[in-house]
Symmetry: C2
Subunit: 500 residues, 2 copies
């Protein structure tokens, strides 16, 4: 038996011969071979995925396990908020490459980045940044990454993806913890040095990282040891015995369940304290806590600002660092550059990781966290200046087009209308929640969710799922009110079809 997976059954569904009626035809505005403007609406031919995707799937599946593939895209034709596939289907995209595409497809400003000779050279002369950075690297860090740094975070390290950002940020917490114990991070004993080579304490001490149930922090073995969202991610892989606390599970709507939700915060925080004590006694002290501001993959689970304030306090009281994983919540999508800015923490978190929409992975950290020695946090590339060039332009566009304001405006509209829908159709959807356009709701159960997702797909909406029965909205920052209306109409349509 295998757990509920994301909607990766599409090709199998086709194979067993489902036939679905065609709901919408290609809009005429899109039938030109070149499409500089967004189409006016989505359009899907059935069967979906179409014959070309089916053919390419067979080809790819001979080269690698490819059953997670939903369609083959035409990235030359995809435009703005619309993902166009090889069969000419045009999907309004509320999933945006697992939430990693900040400005939608083929933004005209991004298309121009690499018309500059210096930038082409930056792409093809990829340096080992830890040893031979280019002349403009400090400036790029300052003008790009530090320009949007979380308040009072002055240091930044670049990486390649979310998982390795979390892996290295955890290493950073171990260094910091041992420095507090030892009094420094330079004078290692001969015994420490010898045992470290053989994976044994004291060189490789039995420290732990506290994480939360339903968390997702990546798929490498360290990141996976703090990930607890789905069995399919973890089965067969050895993991560290590290403490796992419950993350608050709120009752919705929030304003009708405040008292109960406060108690839920306290229950979870008490467990955090108990686990820290338990693992101290067990000889595996907690060096750091890793937490998402909103648990994304695990079901878009929120926690209150007070929860995070108290969590930070507990970390401090126990000499543990606090790492906030903003890989999915960062880059403006919640209506602030970083979601944890909503929490009004009295001092900044010790580390904040990023990736996805930020193009490059990495993490911010406070000045106090800086290791004394080089080569502690290190790898061949240490990020990628080519990705920083894209991020630079993404941030320019975000400023010029006031995209964070846009997220707040469109998010408010989406939230309001989703609230109405949940009151109108309580047997189908509930628990509308989120910030900015980083929104989600629950289907009544996982079967209902699957029906909704398939109906939405027929109506030309590409959207993601998370947790056991949640549907998550992850549109680009450029998602407009008119597209929000289109999505809401489609959702209403899908609900009606499901109830019919």
């Amino acid at each position: 038996m295998i757990p509920t997976r994301n909607v990766n059954i599409i090709f199998r569904r086709k194979m067993i011969g489902d036939v679905i009626k065609i709901p919408i035809r290609l809009s005429t505005s899109f039938q030109r071979s070149v499409c500089p403007k967004e189409p006016t609406k989505p359009s899907v031919h059935l069967p979906f995925p179409g014959p070309k995707s089916q053919e390419l799937f067979k080809e790819l599946n001979q080269i690698q396990q490819a059953e997670s593939v939903q369609l083959f895209a035409d990235y030359d034709k995809s435009i703005g908020n619309y993902l166009v596939d090889v069969d000419g289907n045009v999907l309004l995209d509320l999933y945006t490459q697992i939430s990693s595409l900040p400005l939608g497809y083929n933004h005209p400003k991004l298309l121009k980045i690499f018309s500059d000779d210096h930038k082409i050279r930056t792409l093809i002369n990829r340096p080992a940044l830890g040893v031979y950075p280019g002349e403009d690297y400090p400036r790029m860090l300052k003008n790009v990454l530090l320009k949007v740094a979380p308040p009072q975070m002055s240091n930044v390290v670049t990486m390649m993806c979310g998982a390795c950002s979390n892996e290295n940020a955890m290493k950073h917490m171990f260094i910091s913890y041992q420095r507090k114990i030892r009094g420094n991070d330079t004078d290692y004993t001969e015994t420490e040095m010898k045992t470290s080579i053989t994976n044994l304490p004291p060189g490789c001490p039995e420290l732990s990282i506290l994480s939360f149930y339903e968390s997702f922090h990546g798929r490498t073995l360290g990141a996976l040891s703090v990930t607890h969202s789905k069995a399919i991610h973890k089965l067969d892989f050895p993991a560290f015995d590290w403490p796992i606390a419950h993350f608050p599970k709120y009752k919705y709507p929030l304003n009708e369940n405040m008292c109960e939700n406060d108690k839920e915060d306290d229950r979870c925080l008490a467990e955090v304290e108990e686990l820290i004590e338990k693992y101290r006694k067990k000889g595996k002290p907690v060096a750091g806590i890793i937490v998402e501001p909103i648990q994304a993959e695990g079901g878009d689970n929120e926690a209150s600002p007070i929860f995070f304030q108290k969590l930070q306090l507990i970390a401090k009281q126990n000499s543990a660092s606090l790492l906030i994983d903003e890989v999915q919540t960062g880059c403006g999508v919640t209506g602030k550059m970083w979601c944890h800015e909503y929490f009004n923490l009295p001092t900044p978190p010790d580390l904040v990781t990023f990736s996805k929409k930020m193009q490059v992975g990495g993490y911010y950290h406070t000045a106090e966290m800086k290791p004394s020695l080089s080569y502690r946090i290190f790898n061949t590339w240490m990020g990628d200046p080519g990705k920083l060039l894209i991020l630079e332009e993404v941030l320019n566009v975000m400023q010029q087009e006031k995209l964070i304001e846009n997220v707040n405006k469109v998010g408010k509209k989406l939230m309001n209308e989703l609230f109405h829908l949940q009151y109108e159709f309580p047997s189908v959807i509930n628990s509308v929640r989120g910030r900015g356009t980083f929104l989600a709701f629950n289907a009544a159960d996982s079967k209902m969710r699957q029906k909704l997702i398939l109906k939405l797909q027929e109506l030309g909406i590409n959207i993601g799922v998370c947790g056991e029965r949640s549907i998550r909205l992850r549109p680009a920052l450029t998602f407009q009110e008119r597209q929000a209306s289109m999505f809401l109409d489609a959702l209403r349509g899908a609900i009606t079809l499901v109830l019919a």
Copy 2:
């Protein structure tokens, strides 16, 4: 006390006020502001690093721990085999961004890649390849990565870097091992699914990976658990208790020590078998073996084809997979596309990882290793099509310019002359070894190595170190005989200076 580190003491050296005489001036051919051709020779102004690098270092070191930085490069001016820095120093580069730059700097063919509109769109519309690959993705895998696949390896998975390639290849081995035990990798029990969420067996079984002393496989926590080259990589970080065997330590020259080296193979292989048995009894069975064809970071330690043939046999006899890590040895640098092709293995290894010169990370695997379910090996991006475009052109150039032939020709010359030097100066260097231009020699001790490296630097040679006292050659595939002569002259010069 801190272990011997790479040559990251340069800035500190400057700070304590060393003064070094200027050996060579900028060659006139290079003083033009645009430099379409390689300079005729290297040139270094002292003090090195120069004032501009010093200034930029201060700036960068305020943003991140930057003491591993050796210089700031000018990647617009760097050309071919020459790395040019911001102070106008021109270094003949035998380290090539920690062995990650296949064609040197600003190869004219690579400069042209992104003049194509489709390719620019591929860069800025970065897909989640596991869900929405582009139309040309199967073709790219076939025409680029599979075109140079190791013999009989038909499957390939792309990743981002060497560490995450090894992490995921190890996960692949765990899946395969459990499949053999369970009979399938689809029917997980409820208990397995529940316990996997909490990091506990049977869902997260206590399996292990066998690795070798002096190995280097990356810096994330899983990859670090199979890495044993330097304490500075591992101190303070928890690690899995997994078996570590000794890798052969040969006596040089090989043809004078065959009998002893054969015994060394047998000693190490016997230890592998003992450790597999020991960890089976300990309840942590070995699911796979990870090994470099030549241990690079750990000291350019070689092992014989027979060692690898027997190692593969032991793996098979114990239901363990064999993963050959070609992150540093791959892409033609040893004189074959993949170094393990020298080993004449009767059947292909189960997995072969790559990254660095290949631009994109990933691994080849045999058809039998393919997991039955999707989402087992998965992450947001699953590689980067933009990097595949660069690799495509790299492989074209390698074919057009017959670069593997070039590597063999230049490697032979280097090897011959290094042999002469070691016989001429046995008190300074010894143990010349390697394949293709992937060569190394030992200095008499680590102090002697440090002196040689600094002298070589003054003479305009950028070169790397590995192990305790080795110097490693890692030129680009385009490194020519005339540059080899220049390096050999400089090395002779450095040895003479050190002996003076």
